[in-house]
Every structure is written in structure tokens, then in C-alpha cells.
Amino acid sequence: MAKTYIAGVGMTKVGRHYEKGFKELSLEAIDKALKHAGIGINEIDYLLVSSAFPELTLHQSDIATILAQELGIKVRALRVDAGEASGAAAVALGNDLIRLGRVRTVLVAGVEKMSEYPSAQANAAYSSILDYEYEGVRNVSLVNYAAMTLKNYMERYGVSREEVFKWAIKMHENALTNPYAYLSFKVSLKRMMDSQIMSDPITTYDAFPICDGAAALVMVEESVASTLDGKPVELLDYEAINSEPPYLRGELTELPATRKAFKKLSKRTGIVVDEETAIQVHDSFSIYGLLALEALGLAGKGKALEALDNMPYLNHGGGLKARGHPVGATPLYGLAELTLLMQNSYPGLNYSRDISLLHTMSGHDNSSWLIVLRR
């Protein structure tokens, strides 16, 4: 079976882009990715667009066809939606199409515009990743689950409110060297302790910021990769699985889908990850970043905060917390940051391991996706 490579990546700076729409942002990321890959747009066989809320925030369905029209290309174009994991799902699908020999080059573009409306409307759109009929209508949002989870975690493992901000502090520090990060500034612990409560005990410094962004990947088959001048990174494998809704699980402080997906993936590929492996975890809320490390076996239960100090390549771009979380694009940002790291072209970091891992999930581990890169 053919192997899949990531030949090029492109990102736009995450932020509130009032002067740019989804087309402008996407085109910017796509042009960068094509240039990085050394491939022309007319060599693309398939356009996959990951976006979670275009109908709600942009009045736009069939965003892939609209984007193909904007690009002036005639290709197979498809939008992929898997909530917050949309970008990973699009990459996984592109990988399958290449491996099956259906296509040789796939352009994956992820885009989200969350700042077109006041926060309450962005929050309503984001809350739609939960089950509207049973959770949404009852006024339950993801931050509420995250809050109850953090509460349980702090009580059970004797972790203080102050200690949990260690995650955000590390993410803000990591974002300092990421030219595409939204919140690339240091934040004092005092400012965090005084920050606004979103859902007690979660404050704004435990949560991702509302933002816009677009990121793109050019994925190619092995025979194409071998003709390129750059240093394509192999997409070794991926795995994904879903869980019951959080209220049916009995335990909030575990991410069962992440754990199961990783078990399957590591059994199949034989990969081993440790604290020095480059890993991107889904920290929409800091507590989820901590639980992801525990589900991936990188820290014992209740011990993730202690493990942070020894993880130089964890969310090196600042994670969802500080790089930002333009939802449909987020996993592509993570993969782009990992690709650059593995090509040794990420500013300020040298990485020598053969593999890196992306974790992303939608909601409270409602679905979890893992993608392994290898050089």
C-alpha cells in the first residue's frame, strides 16, 4: 500500500481577523502550503476542507465547493466535519484516499471564523458540538463539563486551583516563539488567579480564546514525495474512536476514547511515546490537556502537572490555549507545527526523534483522533 507524506504546510496567524473572511484566510494558508511543498495548485487531485461551524457562523454550506470556485480550480471537493476534530478527520480521509491509490495529491484546508459575531453567538455555535436535543436545549455547554471535571480532579488528587494554571503558563511561554500564535505573551500567575470565572472553577485562563484561523496541508503519495525538493514527513498511521456522552460515563476525569485509540494505534504501529516525544494534545480547556497526557500514558492519574516540566516538545506552538483554537483548522495547525519541527525548521527548537503524535478530540472526549508522523 502506498505511503502518505505531508509535503507542505501553511498557516495564517490565529486571531480576530475582522478584515479577512474565510476565503482570504484559506487562500493565504493554501498558497503557503503549496509553496512549501513545491507543488502547483493544478496538481491537486482532491480538496478537503475541514470546518466545524460554517453554516452557523458564515451562512455557508458546501464550503469546499465555494472555496474551490474561489481558488479557480476544478477538482473533487468535500467538506469534512467531525466537530473539533474536523481537521484530523480530513487528514485521515486524505490519507486513506492516497493509500487506496484513488488520488496522488490532496490539499487539506481547515478554516474557522469564530469572531464574526459577539461572544454569546460564538459560544452558541461552539456549544453545538454537544447533543442539541439532550444537552444543548438543557443549557449545558462543554465548559460546564470541563468545570465539573476540573473540580473532581482537584478534589481527588489534592491539586490546587493555582497549580492548574501551570498548564496555561507553559502554553503562553511556548507561544512566544510561534509566529502564528494568537496569545504570544507571558501571563503572571496573579493575573490568572484574578481572571474571570467562566464556569466555576474554570476561568478564561483555563480556556481557549475565541478566534479565527486557517491552516493547510499538502498530502502526497510516496512517488510524488520522492520528486520534491523539500523534506516530506510521512503520515505513519492514525486512529479514532468515540465515547458515550459524558453524563453516561460515570467518571469525568478520564478520556476513554483517547486511551482506547492510543492502545490500538500503539499496538498496530509499535510506537512508543515518552516525555521527550513531540506531542500535541487537545487543550480546549487545560484540564483536558492534563487528562490527555494521562490517557496517553505519559503521566499517572493526577500526576500530569508534575510531568509538564520534563516535556520540552509538548504543544510547542502554544496549544489551543495560547496558539488558539480556530476549531476546524486546529488539528491542521498542530500537524503543521509538528511537520516543521520534524523538518527542523521550527524556530528555536531542535528535535531528533523519529516520530511525533497529534491528539485531538471533540467535546469531552466524545470522539478522539490520533495521528502519528514519522521522518
Binding site: A120, A124, E133, N139, V140, S141, M148, K151
Partner: protein
């Protein structure tokens, strides 16, 4: 952002105006709400049972997170309630200030306004929970 729909809400009225549970005849587990498949094992050999609407607060959070249409009743108290049938349900707690709420507190279902489009729009009603005071 789309507004509330009459049909989306109406067809689920048995879940909104009462608390219906799914009991699986295959794996034996009970879950909320009434579904056609067991969310644990996927079996369609299920029956629907009524909950007493009585339970205890298992976990809760005081939420200032505002979604469109949430202008009233802020902050909200969002909880996980363990019903007497042993099933956990996500629910809003009303008629109490945050300081009065405690884990383990007995609560019961009451019919309340869930949300509305705007001051002149469609209103959804459904069950929330209130502390049981006069025991």
C-alpha cells in the same frame, strides 16, 4: 444562527416534559434519555421507563458562560444529577443561589422555561431541577 423550531422540540416532548429512561434488555443498563438503541451496547432490545424525577446532585458548576439567548438567569447552575433510578442526567438547578447548592443535595424535577428566541419568539419549556426543601 437558526432560531428555535417547533417540530424539533415537539417530537421530543416526552423527553422534555417528563424524564424517560432507556432500559436495555441485553446488557441490563439504564440510561438517560429514552432512545431507540442502548448507548452502551447498541442493542435495540430496549424499553422506556419513567423516572421518578427525584435524585441527588452529584456534581455542579456555577456557570457564567453566556450563549445567545442566555441573557436571563445568569449565572446558571449546571449539574449532574443522579436520579433515584441510578442514572445520571445533565440538568440545570433553579430556585437557589449558588451558595445554597451542595453536592448530595436532594432535588426534584420542575417544569421551567428552557430558552426562547427573543422577547417575542418561540419559547421552549422543559424540566429543570429544584432542591427538595420540606422533607
Amino acid at each position: 444562527m437558526l432560531k428555535n423550531s417547533i417540530s424539533i422540540f415537539w417530537r421530543k416532548r416526552s423527553n422534555y416534559y417528563r424524564i424517560k429512561l432507556t432500559k436495555c434488555r441485553k446488557c441490563g443498563r439504564i440510561s438517560y434519555p429514552a432512545r431507540e438503541r442502548c448507548p452502551y451496547c447498541g442493542s435495540n432490545d430496549v424499553e422506556h421507563i419513567d423516572s421518578s424525577g427525584h435524585g441527588k446532585i452529584l456534581n455542579y458548576t456555577v456557570s457564567y458562560y453566556r450563549r445567545e439567548g442566555d441573557a436571563e438567569n445568569m449565572p446558571r447552575i449546571v449539574a449532574l444529577v443522579r436520579l433515584d433510578e441510578g442514572v445520571v442526567i445533565p440538568a440545570e438547578i433553579v430556585d437557589s443561589s449558588p451558595e445554597e447548592i451542595k453536592e448530595g443535595m436532594e432535588v426534584e424535577a420542575v417544569l421551567r422555561r428552557l430558552n426562547s428566541d427573543d422577547p417575542y419568539g418561540l419559547i421552549y419549556y422543559g424540566l429543570k431541577f429544584t432542591p427538595v426543601l420540606n422533607k
